[in-house]
Every structure is written in C-alpha cells, then in structure tokens.
Symmetry: C4
Subunit: 273 residues, 4 copies
Amino acid sequence: MGSFRGHALPGTFFLVMGLWWSTKTILKYVCKKHKRTCYLSSKALFHRVEILEGVVVVGMALTGMAGEQFIPGGPYLTLYKEGQWNQLLGWHHFTMYFFFGLLGVANILCFTVSSLPVSLTKLMLSNGLFVEAFIFYNHTHGREMLDIFVHQLLFLVTFLTGLVAFLEFLIRNNVLLELLRSSLILLQGSWFWQIGFVLYPPGGGPAWDLMDHDNSMFLTICFCWHYALAYIIIGVNYAFVTWLVKSRLRRLCPSEVGLLKNVEREQESEEEM
Amino acid sequence: MGSFRGHALPGTFFLVMGLWWSTKTILKYVCKKHKRTCYLSSKALFHRVEILEGVVVVGMALTGMAGEQFIPGGPYLTLYKEGQWNQLLGWHHFTMYFFFGLLGVANILCFTVSSLPVSLTKLMLSNGLFVEAFIFYNHTHGREMLDIFVHQLLFLVTFLTGLVAFLEFLIRNNVLLELLRSSLILLQGSWFWQIGFVLYPPGGGPAWDLMDHDNSMFLTICFCWHYALAYIIIGVNYAFVTWLVKSRLRRLCPSEVGLLKNVEREQESEEEM
Amino acid sequence: MGSFRGHALPGTFFLVMGLWWSTKTILKYVCKKHKRTCYLSSKALFHRVEILEGVVVVGMALTGMAGEQFIPGGPYLTLYKEGQWNQLLGWHHFTMYFFFGLLGVANILCFTVSSLPVSLTKLMLSNGLFVEAFIFYNHTHGREMLDIFVHQLLFLVTFLTGLVAFLEFLIRNNVLLELLRSSLILLQGSWFWQIGFVLYPPGGGPAWDLMDHDNSMFLTICFCWHYALAYIIIGVNYAFVTWLVKSRLRRLCPSEVGLLKNVEREQESEEEM
Amino acid sequence: MGSFRGHALPGTFFLVMGLWWSTKTILKYVCKKHKRTCYLSSKALFHRVEILEGVVVVGMALTGMAGEQFIPGGPYLTLYKEGQWNQLLGWHHFTMYFFFGLLGVANILCFTVSSLPVSLTKLMLSNGLFVEAFIFYNHTHGREMLDIFVHQLLFLVTFLTGLVAFLEFLIRNNVLLELLRSSLILLQGSWFWQIGFVLYPPGGGPAWDLMDHDNSMFLTICFCWHYALAYIIIGVNYAFVTWLVKSRLRRLCPSEVGLLKNVEREQESEEEM
C-alpha cells in the first residue's frame, strides 16, 4: 500500500466479489421465482460454487498478504527492527487480509464438513469487515485532513457492510439484505480506487490539496455517486440475469411451473398488503 | 437553497409526503379493522396508488434537482470551474434530491414488475434518508454555531427516520412503525421551514444571533414542540379517517362484517395480555 | 428545578412508577405461571388498572408542568421577555413533563378506544424518554464539570430506558424486558435524588467541589450501586409478590391448575435446552 | 489492581470462563447433532452443571472483591478517609466484581427456583458486562495516552460482549452467537494479560513508552491477533469435542440415531438454500 497499486488491488478484489455476490444472489432469487427444479439452482451445484468461492477468497487473501510483506521495501515478515516497530502500516494491511482469509477458510469448511452451521460464513464475513473497520479507524494517526477524511469514509462503509452482514447472519434468506451487502461491497471497491486517485494520482497528475475543505465537500457527494453507481450496476445485473434465466433456461428446464408460479405470486401479494 | 425558498420547498415536499403516508397507513389499518372486503382497501387500487405515488416522488425530485441547478446564480451543471469546485452546496442538495428520485423509481418498478420484492421501496426510502443524513453531516463546515446546530437537528431527525424506515424493511406491516415514520417525516418538513425562518427571516425581519447559546437552547425545545405538533396532526388525521370510514363507507360496503370483527378483536385482546 | 425539590419531585415520580410497573409485571407473570383463571389476572381488571395508570401519569405530568411554570420566580407561561428568552431551563423541564403527559393520554385512549393498538403506549413511553434524553443532552451548556457529568449519566439512563421501551414495543410480552425497563426507571428516579443531593445539598451541608475529578470517579460507581439497589428492590418485590400470590390467592381461586402447571413447566424446560 | 497480578487475575478468570462456555456450547450442539438421547446431553446434568457454574462464578467474584479490598495497601472497606475519597480505582474494580457476582447468584437461582425465566442469566451477563464497560469508560481520567488506549480497547471488547450477550437474551439457542460471545470473552481475558504486560512488565523488563503512537499502532493489530487466537482456540476446541463425542460416546449411547440424523440433516440443508 502507500501507493496507487496498493489501493487498486483491494479495490479490484472488492469489486469482483461484489459483482459475483450480487450475481449469485440474483440468480438464486430468480431461479426460485421462476422454477424450482432446474440444475442451475440445485443444491449440489451451489455447494461446489461456495467451495470454489472460498478457495478464490483464500487466494486473494494470500496474494494480498504476500504483496504487503514482499513488495520492495516491505517488512519481509520482520515486526521489530533496530529498537522500533517495522512498517506497522504494512502489518495493518496484512492483518486485514488475514481475516478475509479466515472467511475463505470458513467458506470451505462449512460446505465440506456437514456438521458446521452454514451461517458461520456470514459471521466470519461480518467479523472480517468489523476487524477491517477497527484497523482503519486506528490507521491514520498524524496524517493530513483529506487523507483522514477518505479513510473515515472507508471506515464508514466497512462498518456498515459489517452491520449488514451481521444482520444477514441473524435474518437468513432475505434477498434484499444480500443485495444491499453486495452494493456496499461494490461501493467499498470503487472507493478504494477513488482513494488511490486522490492520494496517489497515477500518471504524474497534480496532487490534490490535502488541506482544502472544498475537496472534502466534493468527496462527500462523490462517495454518494459511487453508491448510486453501485445501485445501477446491481440493477443492470438484475435485469440481465432475469432476461438470461427467462430466455435461455426456458428451453432447458421447461414445464411443471405454470401453476406453481401463480400460487406463489398470490401468496406473496397477499403478504404484501 | 441558501435562501428561504430553498428550505421551504423541501419542507413542503416532506410535509405533503408525511401527511399522505400517514393518511394511507391509517386508511389501510382502519379498513382492515372494520371490514376486509371493500374496494377502497382492495389490492388493485393500492397498487395504482403506489405507482402514482412513485410518479409524484419522481416529479418532486426532478423539481428539486432542476431548482438547485438552474436558479439564477446556480451551478448550471458545471461541477468544476476556473480551478475550483463550483457551488458544491448546490450539488449536495442536488445529490439528495437524486436519491429520493431513486425512491420514486423503485416505487414505480416494484408495483409494475411483479418479480421485484415490495420491501425494496422501504429499503430505498431508508437509503435515501441515510444519504441525506450523511450529506447534512458533512454539509456545514465553517459555519456559525446556530447554523450548525439546526442542521445537526436535521441530521438527527433524518437519521432516525432512516432507522425507522430500515426497521420497517425488516418488520413489515407494523402500523405504528409506519405512523412513527410519517410523524418523523412531518417533523423534518416543519423543521425545514423552521430553519428557513431562523437563517433567512422572510419579510426582512431581524436576523437571529447565530452565536447566542440561548437561541440553541430555545431551538432544542422548539424541535420537541414541532414533534408534538406532528403527533397531534397524526392523531387528528386518525380520528378524521376513522370517522370517515365509519360514517361514509358503512353505506357503500355493508354487512358480512359483524361476526368477523368480534372474532378478530378477541384474538387481539388475547395477545395483548 | 434548579433546587433540591425540583429534582426530588421527578425522582419520586419515577420511583413510584418504577415500583408500580415492576409490581404489575411480576403480578401478571406470577398469575400466569400459577393459574390462569383468577379475577386478579382478568383482562377487565387490567384494563381498568391501565386507565387508572394513565390518569395518574397525566396527573403527575400536570403537577410537574404547573410546578415548573408557577413556582415563585418561574416563567409564568412567558417565553420571551424584554428582548431575550425567559427561563429556558424551566421551559425545558415543562416540555419533558408534557411528553410524559402524552404517554398518559395514550394510555387512557388505548384502553378506552378499542381500535387503537395497545403497543402505542410502549411507543409513547419510549418517545417520552427519548425526548427527555434529547433535552438533557442539550441542557447543560456552560455548566461546571460535575454538573455536566451527573446530567450525562441521567442522559445515559434515560436513553437506555428509551431503547428498552422501544424493544418492548417491537417484542411484546417479554417479562424480563419489562423488568429491565422498570429497574432502569427506578435507577433514574434514585439518580434524580442523587443529583439533588450533589448539586443542592439539603440542610445547608457543604457543597460538593464541582471541579474535582475524584468526585466524578466516585459518582461513576455510585451510579452502579444505585443500579444494584434497583435490582435488589425488584428481587425483593418478586419474592414478595410470589409469596403473596401463593399464600393468599390459593384460597381464593383454587384448583383446576395442577395439571396445567406441569404441562406448562415441561414445555418451558424443553425450550430452554 | 494497579499491578501485573491485578490484571492477570481477571484475565485468568475470563480465559477460564471463555474456555468453559465454548466447550459447553459445542458439547450441547454436537450432542444434539449426533444423538438426542444420551445422558451427557440430558437436562438433569445440564441443570446441575449450571448451578455449579453459578457457584464458581460467585467464588471468582468473591475472590476478586476480597483481593481488591484486602491486598496490602488496599482500601480495607473504607470509602472516605481524611476528607477525600479513598482508593477509588480499587472500589471501581470491586464494583465490577460485584456485578459478576450477581450473575453467579442469578445462575444459581434460575436453576433452583423453577419459576424464574432461564434467560435471566443472559440478561445478568450482559448487564455485568455493560456495567464493566461503563466503569472502564470512566476509569482512566488523567492517565497517559497508551494507558488510555489499552483501556479503550478493553471497553470496546467488553461493550461488544455485552451486546452479543443481550442479543443472546433476545434470540435464544443460536449456537454461533454463543460461540461469538465465548470468543469475545477469551479475547477479553487475553487482553487483560496483554495490558498487564504493557503497563507493568513483569520480571523488571523495560517499560513501554506510553506516549509513543507507534506503540498504539502496534497494539491495534496485536488486539486483532489476540482475536484470531481466540478463534483458533475455539476451532481446535470444536474439533476436539466433536472427535471426543464421535469416538467415545458412540460406544456408550449407541443406535436409534441413524435415521433421525439423516432426516435432520436434510431439513437443515433445505433451509440453508
């Protein structure tokens, strides 16, 4: 970290996970709405996908941990050197990645060891996010105003995502909560990129004035626009997945649905009133 | 904004929405209590009303957005001009209106596209309110004490309304939660008017002393009185709607109720104990 | 206020209400546990008691409001006098009493008008407490350290009680939540007395040093001891009511219970595991 | 307190309780998963264990209270001496231990007096933790930066544990919530040891520089590592208990399970989707 790349890497990780989680949630939801019996929504497939997801998360975490330690000028696993702490900020990031690694491990374990409760993954996710929020909160001692401000916003979104993930842990199978979490993950990803552009302008552009309150005023609404963007991405994703399921899969797994769907829809519209 | 009108406009919007939402909630509740079979409480009607509501909200949001951009001296869609940010406060308000516009869009989509979950509207409402609270929190850098204080109160009420809307998203069909939200929306509306009167006294009255702590002490209880007023408005509304339903609609949709009502009331009084 | 009596009065009100609410809760719970059919636990009696409670609360609120306005040297309903606000602190207290008056009104209405949802009383209680907390939060501008500290603790307990009352509004019929709320109300009552003793020592005792941090350190644990006392009061109350119901009422409303009790107890112990 | 031992003692208490609670939770969960009929998971045994637990907690609390009062140089039950408060910090700790003593008493009462609701123990636990958090929050007036920081972290973990215990009070029988609480208790225990090492290095080692922000940066991640350790302890515990139940108890309480287990597992995997 401390560079454009150091912010672009986790940003990309979060964007990928946000996109993937929103797609998974929508796919599950739409499959459930339109028919119940197809292979794509089968438990066997989803179990394998969850295990794969865990492996990918562990891979990302290991990449991040290795990157923090072994970049040129990094701490190289040395915590204490010559009478003082060695590159603590790098160790901060290392710790964050480590807790997301735990999330990946939990994902793998939950779907291979059948006795473990599945909501453990949600708990580990909210845990990883709270740890990240905690570390970012104590991360910016002695920096300049705008630097602190953008990290405070990062803290805010991380903390909120942790809260939503914890709510998911308590209230299972609420599709909107899952999409809300995905949108906040997307926001976090794109905000990492934004921080990179603000603090380490790539291409040698002029740096932002870190003491100018107008900049923080702008970044306030910029943050909201990122959020609006996350919403739009998820909306487009929803429309796309719905279209895909309707057009493609109608051919593959037909019939037996018509009646069920109507019954279901009525039940729902009843509970809406 | 930055004028009396700029505060009166959103204030009026919120007052109208608060009145409308409280009326809708009470009407639904009273209809359900007194009979179940009338047209007024039919799903078809409520769906159409919800779509209309969405259109009205979008209209309000567009009015607000256009007003912020194209008033004389406004930013005219220019974000960056002559090496500095252009009228960021106007852009702040613009962003708030935009998120309420998203609420309207969600309202329209939810009741036209049947596969979307209806509680999405509650989520978008709480979202819009949280974004508004977030922006107001970062809105008052460098202003004077009383100016900051009235905006902090605005932040408080907006944040609380967002929380209540989020609770509604989780706990559906609780009539008191809906009325609580309506009362907080009314409070927000009348508080916008109060801010207008405090910061930009119309009719050329003498300005308030923005550094006097007695004024903030007074506004503290003034805020509570506004809230009491919102309660009284909702109480009167409740009495009026109940009377209307009882007197008018008894003629239109009679009978078949007597027995049901008694059964229902007993169930309720049982669960009260 | 601003005197020993001004703190002893609300303190006594809260102590009385706390005692009464805990007794009512325990009585309901024990009656339900031991037999279901007696007059004391009948709905008719409890409805009348609730209405009486409402009347008492309104009476207390009116006493407090009148006391704040018409004590010698009080504001006498004048809000603005000679170019400045008149006795705003008195108006603060007046507003707090007013919202508790609303609670009493809600109590009366809920148990006379059958169409109103009963949980409205919980909502109004939590509302009154939140308003009280809000006003206390903005109440102590420019005072000395210890004065601010004891009011902050008052804010804390009021806010927590409001939260618990709101939880009760969402989760009905949880006996421990109701007792928790009663214990916090008792704590608030005895803390009002403590504030009176600290800020206005009766009997002409020496005043406390308001700038000494040792005093605030002591009041921290003193606050906890008050809380422990509230617990002990409720425990004794529980033992007494249980004994009363068991010994007295066994004669009045006998039999028909034996079997039911066993069944019930088994169900409970099952759900405990 | 105010010494290495004064921090090691509560640290050990919390570590023991955390280990014991996690073991109990896992044992219950695994027994329930694998068979329902064995003596080890019987109600009678668990009741006795809970009472024993209460006695142990009371014993710990009494040890702590006596230790705080009667160490050489302690307050010896004198609160006010020679015109000033006597050793308030010792009284602070005394009060904390007292509230945990109440937890032990509640544990004993709940499982001997059958009419008391069992969730009272969770409420008293969350209560004791909130009181501890409250006292720690007001505990560090006038100390140095790092001293305040480590106590703030202690406040954080105590407050969070209290929140989780309160959630458990509301949502019963969620195994992951119970393990989360155990892990936070373990974290608190090991953090007490860490505080002892930081503020009172045993063995005459060099003291930490209490004004160096690098140290607080390090302790931030150190806190997270303690947490990761708590997770690993619980994971190992889970694996060990599962192995024990599977290997040992299969012989003792065999049969009658096969079918049930499969049914159960299917139900669960269904609800997971």
